[in-house]
């Protein structure tokens, strides 16, 4: 140990632009921190990519042989469903990451430093958003490699990307909120399995909603994930859906659902975050 001078004095911090600029810088730094951990914790990315791949293989090559959907090849019916499901699984991914991250000591250090507090949760959301986006890109890539054949006009492509980004954003915020509410990453995992997995199954993901029993059908008619799946299917294959208002207008319904979710979840997440910080 030798007596190296530690650093120039604290004045640096004070001379720095405050307010909005500080928020943006801190958020970018904290987003970078989340992104850096993606390759260090590959399990997390695998969680959101392996699961869809397993479902693809299972339904394409096992159950698929027994499922016939009128007017479309099963492959082209299945992939939009898988994408909708993966988008929804983003909730679990973000929730698990948040619940393990927010209980870590490092958040305490951030809190005791003179940084913008909002940037802590913003960095978390941004990091999880990027991770979910990467997961979807991989899933789409696997689909294309296995012979999925989307028919997209340029306009539809833009619409699809915009809707997917909006959905990832909404589900990431939802996951971050849940992650701050549950006690542990395992609890989040469990909740995902009990609530989100069934909802993704009852959304016209693998089989048409029209053929379901009365109760699951009533759920499916208003399950937001149904709108998601129907919208992706309508945009990529021009395949129509019907049964409820949201299934008659899936693209608009999907956008409205995402906005509604954001309107509810963002204030709740911020409130929860402030509570956590207040101790």
């Amino acid at each position: 140990m030798n007596a190296t001078t530690i650093s120039p004095p604290r004045a640096v911090r004070n001379s720095r632009a405050h307010g909005a600029r500080r928020y943006v810088t801190d958020t970018l730094l904290l987003t970078g921190r989340s992104l850096r951990s993606i390759p260090r914790v590959p399990e997390r990315l695998l969680d959101v990519t392996i699961q869809p791949i397993v479902f693809i293989l299972l339904f394409l090559y096992v159950f698929g042989s027994a499922i016939h959907v009128a007017g479309i090849s099963y492959k082209d019916y299945l992939f939009p469903g898988i994408i909708g499901q993966s988008l929804a699984f983003g909730i679990i991914g973000a929730g698990v990451a948040t619940s393990s991250d927010m209980t870590e000591g490092v958040v305490d250090r951030f809190r005791s430093m003179p940084i913008s507090r909002l940037s802590i949760i913003s960095g978390q959301v941004m990091g999880q958003f990027c991770e979910a986006l990467l997961g979807i890109v991989i899933t789409v890539g696997v689909g294309l490699a296995l012979g999925w054949d989307p028919h997209l006009t340029a306009l539809h492509a833009v619409e699809l990307v915009a809707l997917m980004v909006l959905a990832i954003f909404a589900f990431t915020w939802t996951g971050v909120l849940f992650g701050m509410l549950v006690r542990s990453p395992d609890a989040m995992q469990g909740m995902g399995f009990i609530i989100i997995l069934p909802l993704t199954f009852m959304a016209g993901t693998f089989v048409p909603i029209a053929g379901l029993d009365a109760v699951p059908r009533a759920i499916a008619d208003w399950d937001p994930i149904s709108a998601l799946v129907a919208a992706v299917r309508s945009l990529t294959q021009g395949y129509p859906s019907s049964g409820s208002w949201q299934l008659d207008h899936p693209e608009i319904a999907m956008a409205l659902w995402c906005l509604l979710i954001l309107a509810i979840v963002v204030p709740l997440a911020l409130r929860r975050f402030n509570r956590m910080l207040a101790g």
């Binding site: 650093s7 730094l29 305490d108």
Partner: protein, 335 residues
């Protein structure tokens, strides 16, 4: 700007409850600028709770606290600018490397990319962690993590450094490294609040010690004052045959004020001169020809302090789980 005349910490009647349970009860604490104060107490005493309130991480239920003249509740941002906390458990991103952690914290403190790199490099050199700089934190040992954590707290030399149990779980060598770092920092003018379960550590580092238990202050004073109340170090001799206890007592009482603990077959004498007294006791034993199992120099532990100051053992109502209990101190107190 910071009021340079205000004490580094001034807390009055600070209280924190968790549900019905009161973790810190009406605690006062005053730390003068440039001094080292130690909060000493067993597990669950409320040390971490107290420190977290002062570092703006926990909101007090009642009472007031000012850090460098700034109120912790109404001016947290100003407090955060002068304080640096090293919590009880490493506050690092476990998925980043040690160097990445240091650079991130430096950048969050407003340094540019290049400055952050320089600062991280200097700190790694200072804390002897260059060799582990590129290892991901989750793969570091507890002691290595602590050193990185401590380094992260010193990115901008803080006015007030708060260390929560900085040496718990460290091996004696790492403990010495932390102690000497702390002394260097104090020499550089940092004010330090330190929590510990070891009376010996408070004695080695602090100008003033506040002993707490169940969230309340039990005693406070300089280490010398506390030790005067607790008793100095002593030499304990354990005889092999209990029947010889009387004889040994007589042999030693010629030159020492002895006390006998019959059920432990032990004769105890005060040893203000440490090793010199130990040698004299050993000499006397050899001359008497009495067989003994052990002759040891013991310093008062937290246990002894509690017994002396409160008349009851540590955690008397909690099954005595404090891990500092009955621990002969074997390494040197350098002071």
């Amino acid at each position: 700007m910071t009021d340079s005349h205000a004490p580094a910490i001034e807390a009055i009647g600070l209280t924190k409850r968790f549900g019905d349970f009161t973790a810190v009860e009406s605690l006062d604490l005053r730390v003068q600028t440039g001094t080292v104060v130690s909060l000493l107490g067993p597990n669950g005493a409320g040390k971490t709770t107290m420190v977290r309130m002062l570092a703006t991480l926990l909101r007090p239920d009642s009472g007031r606290a000012r850090v460098a003249g700034h109120d912790v509740v109404s001016e947290p941002d100003k407090v955060r600018r002068v304080i640096s906390l090293t919590g009880q458990f490493a506050a690092l991103d476990k998925n980043l490397t040690a160097a990445e952690n240091l650079r991130l914290m430096a950048r969050l403190r407003g340094h540019g990319r290049i400055a952050a790199r320089t600062i991280a490099g200097a700190l790694m050199e200072r804390f002897d962690i260059e060799a582990i700089g590129d290892r991901v934190v989750k793969n570091l040992s507890g002691g290595e993590r602590r050193r990185v954590d401590l380094a992260a707290s010193l990115i901008d030399m803080p006015q007030l450094l708060v260390l929560d149990e900085p040496t718990t779980g460290l091996d004696p060598r790492s403990r010495q490294v932390v102690w000497s770092t702390v002394r260097d920092l104090v020499a550089e003018g940092v004010t330090l609040l330190l929590t510990t379960q070891y009376l010996e550590e408070a004695d080695a580092l602090a100008d003033r010690v506040v002993l707490i238990d169940h969230g309340r202050e039990i005693a406070a004073g300089t280490p010398a004052q506390l030790k005067a109340r607790v008793g100095e170090q002593r030499v304990d001799t354990v005889v092999t045959d209990a029947a010889q206890l009387e004889r040994l007592d007589q042999a030693l009482s010629a030159s020492f004020a002895t006390s006998v603990a019959r059920d432990q077959r032990t004769v105890s004498v005060p040893a203000p001169n440490e090793a010199a007294d130990l040698t004299r006791v050993a000499q006397a034993i050899r001359e008497s020809g009495i067989a003994v199992d052990e002759v040891a120099l013991r310093r008062p532990t937290l246990d002894d302090a509690f017994l002396a100051l409160t008349g009851r053992p540590v955690n008397a109502d909690l099954d005595g789980e404090a891990d500092s209990a009955h621990e002969p101190i074997t390494h040197e107190v350098a002071r």
